[in-house]
Amino acid sequence: MADGTFRNPLVQVRGLKMHFPIYAGILRRKVGDVKAVDGVSFDIFEGETLGLVGESGCGKSTVGRALLRLYEPTDGSVVIDGQDIATLSPDALRKKRPTMQMVFQDPQASLNPRMTVAAIIGEPLDEHTGWDDAKKTARVYELMDQVGLNRRFANRYPHEFSGGQRQRIGIARALALNPKFIVCDEPIAALDVSIQAQVVNLLEDLQDRLGLTYLFISHDLSMVRHIADRVAVMYLGRIAELSPRDALYARPLHPYAQALLSAVPEADPGREATRQRIILTGDVPSPANPPKGCTFCTRCPKVMPHCREIEPKLAEVEPGRFVACHLFTDNTAGGHASSGPEVREHNQQGELS
């Protein structure tokens, strides 16, 4: 689907920050923050899949969890289906939970080994509906059918299933309350390649059938190209680039997005032999002490002097394409002055002290 088909944002994230305090010393005094997510803004439109990619430690999973308020965000707002999740009272939040669900990375760790499959899938129904047993059982069977699990296995335990089947159990549980929005946090990372495709196809089928909206968090750029409509690339707690899928893979704009895509090996010996790789030097800096200015300035092959001073803001540089990089913002080295009138700035606050 091309960008522009969905214009109704289901999820609106503005200036989301998630800082984890660091305590040290005998008195366990707070000595700093790990700025896991540091001012992230984006929309997810209804029926769309937004891919969220980045390397480990970039904050992509934290975004997913903060979005569903599995963490208490430090700052920012998360509006899902008209309500700001970040400030809802516990009671109101609980009523809201059925609309937003999560599929976790490790199906082994996210399923209770002492519960049967039927109990696992039915637990959200126990919690959120007042249905009688017959109705709940019928719903559990219906869900098992939807995700391709044999009904006969309803009374088995998670350890009796393979990794791919366990992930199906996790998906069925997430679907139980008819959510609108599902955060898929690396749902295929723990699976073998031949099983990954089964789960991804299932997620796509369910999206078509039930009109779901996904945030698909992954480090697998090839799989994100397959499943996502738009893709956000994160680096060190911020979004470097947010673009429609085809545009991003054809011509990444942010230098980090370029390096990331060029690093992915491809199953084609001919192309591999001739491909020019951008090899980044060094490692990702610590999010407890991120560099001043652009967080990518320590590894960027195109770094300029003012990148080390001024933080670039995420701005729309081409229709639908948002990039946080001084190469694209019409800058006069004075990054605080607002750029051209067409450049719509996404408010990405995150001034570092």
Partner: protein
């Protein structure tokens, strides 16, 4: 590649069995392959395909019990490694064969400095003095691209990042100038940009040092970029083996074909739907009497149930030298698309 050269490593009919309470697991079944000097052999397979167990069996790294190497020959430098006494085998490990494991955190000892761990094989196998070993260790760290090597020798593993730790592992594996380097999923635990760094490093080291490498991975992309030859494993057996370009251009085994199609591509046409390999990999509870892939194979027929296919050459060259496949189903001509 040096085609006529005699292999540095030759494995014939290797069989490894795990004895568990629930019965025997036949993890490796009659695996044969060879490695020529300076060659990089890619071994591809999913978890449970027997790729790691094969390599661990070669140099006696599997705990026994439960593991038992039941038959086979592993020829390295004119000796059969499977017949060596434990002490002789220890000489081979580290000195002749270097090993790089998947997870650099768990394979480095957290309570010793990195310098200590690089120097250990140097003093043990090469009889260097402590001072000599330290100089050599610093050289090795520089070789694998760690700046400020002398100082870094005094650091502990936790003071290194994941990519740096893997560089240290490579330095240890290379310490005694081995003939063969076995790298078991060396980049799987790393991020893509760091993986790219390690792959570049290995390419560079091959140029400089010229050792033969076995690179185990499940990622066909990594293999495409670095391997000379590829061996595809499934259900504890080698199902296909070919030079890298040939394998990607003209895959024969239904499993290889499916594997190539099930992974989405980064460029080129975007498939509306991913190809799926139905079902699950087999659990190898008995010596296979049928093709291990039959239950998931779109082309399976009666014979696949009755008889485990042997590897046969498809290009006239002897099995192992050119392109061979273990499959009863006769594949259509190159380029033809199967259903």
């Amino acid at each position: 590649m040096p085609d006529g050269a005699s292999p540095v490593l030759e494995v014939r009919g290797l069989k490894t069995v795990f004895r568990t309470r629930g019965g025997e697991i036949h993890a490796v079944n009659s695996v044969s392959f060879h490695l020529r000097p300076g060659e990089l052999l890619g071994v591809v397979g999913e978890s449970g395909s027997g790729k790691s167990v094969t390599m661990m069996s070669l140099i006696g790294l599997l705990p026994s019990p439960p593991a038992e190497v039941r038959s086979g020959e592993v020829m390295l430098g004119g000796r059969d490694l499977l017949k060596l006494a434990p002490r002789e085998l220890q000489e081979v490990r580290g000195a002749k064969v270097g090993f790089v494991f998947q997870d650099p955190m768990t394979s480095l000892n957290p309570v010793f400095t990195v310098g200590n761990q690089i120097m250990e094989p140097l003093m043990k196998h090469m009889g260097l003095t402590k001072a000599q070993a330290e100089t050599r260790a610093a050289e090795l760290l520089t070789l694998v691209g760690i700046p400020d090597a002398r100082k870094r020798l005094k650091s502990y593993p936790h003071q290194f990042s994941g990519g740096m730790r893997q560089r240290v592992m490579i330095a240890i594996a290379l310490a005694c100038d081995p003939d063969v380097l076995i790298a078991d999923e060396p980049t799987t635990a790393l991020d893509v940009t760091i993986q790219a760094q390690i792959i570049e490093l290995v390419k560079d080291l091959r140029q400089k040092l010229g050792m033969a490498i076995v690179w185990i991975t499940h990622d066909l992309g990594v293999i495409a970029g670095i391997a000379d030859r590829v061996m595809v494993m499934y259900g504890g057996q080698v199902v296909e083996q070919a030079p890298v370009k040939e394998l990607f251009a003209n895959p024969q085994h239904p499993y290889t074909r499916a594997l190539l199609k099930t992974v989405p591509s980064l460029t080129g046409e975007r498939a509306a739907r991913l190809e799926v390999i139905q079902g699950q990999p087999p659990i190898l509870q008995a010596e296979p009497s049928a093709c291990p892939f039959r239950a998931r194979c779109p082309h399976a027929f009666a014979r696949c149930e009755q008889e485990n296919p042997l590897r046969r050459a498809i290009d006239g060259l002897p099995v192992g030298k050119g392109h061979d496949v273990a499959c009863h189903w006769s594949a259509p001509a190159a380029g033809a698309q199967d259903g």
